[in-house]
């Protein structure tokens, strides 16, 4: 065997071998690949072009206005989905009757892609602000309902039985027993609903909006301006990734820090 001379692990080497080093390398490789792709494929702009386009849209105020309009419909739709989804989920989880009645319909709702809700919402509401709201609400509600129903089912049977035999009224049972224990399921469902809802709102704006991020993206696509088009796509991806990583994940960690282990929520 040859003897390896073990080099003293100096800072750059130690960094390169660490997790942070791997993450940095990953970002760099990604940027280089993008740069190469942009130089190879005519329709794809390189990172620097997207960055300068970003600055342009930011300073002209277009970026802010578009995101403001989109987030308006997005949050209203999500709020509706949250209220309806939690109510429906608790009802399905608590009552066999409601479950037998609604379970299939909710399952069908889960399988309907956002694009169908978006197209239907446009045909139903025309080019009004209601279309994106309806698209988000219809797409997101089943995800929240299913997760909440799962959480209710996971609530301790013994506690439910005990509170029943002690004559605790229904509304108190829901308030003090069911709601606290389903919160992490609500959150898991909500996080997924945010991603699905973002998809739906963009689709609704793409096909039938008058303003907003989806509409902007579409306009650049229609005018064959691929720098603008790809840049707007990058904007909406970066937005949802930042929202998910920086906001939702942190809130989840904070909310459930009393737990020994973070709950792994059911996906779709």
């Amino acid at each position: 065997m040859t003897t390896h001379v073990v080099a003293p692990r100096t800072w750059p080497l130690r960094f390169a071998a660490s997790d942070a080093g791997a993450q940095t390398a990953s970002v760099l490789v990604g940027l280089v690949l993008w740069q190469l792709l942009g130089m190879g494929v005519e329709r794809i702009p390189v990172p620097s072009e997207v960055l300068s386009f970003f600055w342009e849209e930011l300073t002209s105020g277009v970026l802010f206005a578009a995101f403001y309009n989109t987030l308006d419909g997005f949050t209203i739709g999500l709020a509706i989905a949250l209220v309806v989804g939690i109510a429906l989920g608790i009802a399905i989880g608590l009552s066999d009757l409601v479950r037998a009645f609604c379970n299939d319909i909710v399952l069908v709702g889960l399988a309907v892609p956002g694009v169908i809700w978006a197209l239907l919402a446009i045909l139903w509401y025309g080019f009004s602000w209601k279309a994106p709201v309806a698209a988000v609400a219809l797409t997101a509600t089943p995800f929240i309902a299913v997760n909440v129903a799962q959480g209710v089912k996971a609530t301790s049977r013994d506690l439910i039985r005990m509170s029943r035999s002690f004559g605790v009224p229904m509304h108190k049972r829901i308030r003090h027993l069911v709601l606290p224990s389903v919160m992490d399921y609500v959150f898991a469902g909500f996080r997924f609903a945010v991603i699905m809802g973002w998809n739906a709102v963009l689709l609704a704006e793409w096909f039938g909006g008058r303003d907003g991020v989806g509409y902007q993206t579409r306009t650049f696509y229609d005018s064959n301006d691929f720098t603008g088009f790809v840049s707007w796509v990058v904007f909406f991806i970066v937005f949802i990734v930042l929202l998910d990583r920086l906001v939702l994940e942190r809130v989840a960690r904070r909310t459930f820090r009393w737990r020994a282990q973070p709950a792994e929520g059911g996906g779709h």
């Binding site: 791997a22 009645f101 299939d104 991806i237």
Partner: protein, 272 residues
């Protein structure tokens, strides 16, 4: 703990015979109520253009079946989805392998893989549109990109849970690297590749349709787009039901049985 679960299961079995009929009756009642409300709404609450009656949608569905459109376009979509999965396995398997075997590669791929699995489907649809325009490759690429992270993550998790003792023993008995790969690694990993496909199936099928809505000349998504362009709510609903039935049938009759078979060797979980 498991005794209790077992006991309640056995006890519950006798009960369920009559209960099952009650349940089935309720499910049927649920659908009847749903269709009844739908019919009522389309006659009285809104005009039938906005919400066609179930009968109109059923007629539309019958037309789609008898004209042969159903078979033709499902065939296209299914073919593109399968090609996409093949590509996803080809990319996801090596990535998952690296992630499962090395801490550095796990950190390297962690962010790209989680991001790729968590961004909205429209992204892949428009990406495919930019790169390929209106072509067959678009949906294939979209399916590959959306399901690749699920395969990679599952393979990595599968390798993580591999029996280290078994691997060490193989080394002790001087099995070659190839033999270990063939008899230890591959059998462990295959079910997890499948689990990745199964987890991402519904998502991939949806993204495939979105991509076809944006730009295609065949497939289910293309037909949905055609209905939209004709302002036909009945057409969209008809294709939507076919689309959803297909997902539910695949889940129940293909994916779940196959998963049960592939994970047969696992001890049963003790959850009720």
């Amino acid at each position: 703990m498991s005794d209790v679960a077992l006991g309640s299961h056995v006890g519950g079995h006798r009960l369920t015979v009559s209960r099952r009929w009650r349940r089935a009756g309720l499910v049927v009642a649920g659908w009847v109520a749903f269709l009844g409300f739908w019919t009522f709404a389309s006659h009285n609450l809104v005009n039938p253009f906005i919400l066609p009656t179930p009968a109109t949608v059923a007629e539309e569905m019958a037309d789609i079946v008898t004209s042969g459109e159903l078979f033709e376009h499902f065939q296209w979509s299914l073919m593109k989805t399968l090609a996409g999965f093949a590509l996803a396995v080809a990319i996801g398997l090596p990535i998952g392998f690296l992630m499962g075997r090395s801490r550095w590669w796990r950190a390297f791929f962690h962010m790209p893989v989680t991001v790729a699995g968590n961004i909205p489907g429209i992204t892949y649809a428009v990406m495919a549109l930019v790169i390929f325009g209106i072509a067959l490759e678009g949906p294939i690429l979209a399916v590959a990109l959306i399901s690749m992270p699920y395969i990679a993550i599952n393979v990595a998790a599968g390798l993580d849970g591999i029996d280290r003792g078994l691997e060490k023993m193989s080394h002790v008995f001087r099995r070659s690297g190839r033999q270990i790969a063939r008899h230890v690694l591959v059998p462990t990993v295959i079910p997890f590749v499948f689990a990745g496909v199964r987890l991402s199936f519904a998502l991939a099928w949806k993204v495939e349709a979105i991509t076809e809505v944006f730009g295609s000349s065949n497939g289910v998504g293309y037909m949905i787009r055609q209905s939209y362009d004709r302002f036909s709510v009945a057409g969209i609903l008809a294709w939507m039901f076919f689309f959803v039935f297909f997902i539910l049938l695949m889940e129940r009759f293909v994916l779940q049985p196959a998963e049960k078979r592939l994970f047969r060797w696992r001890p049963k979980e003790a959850t009720a």
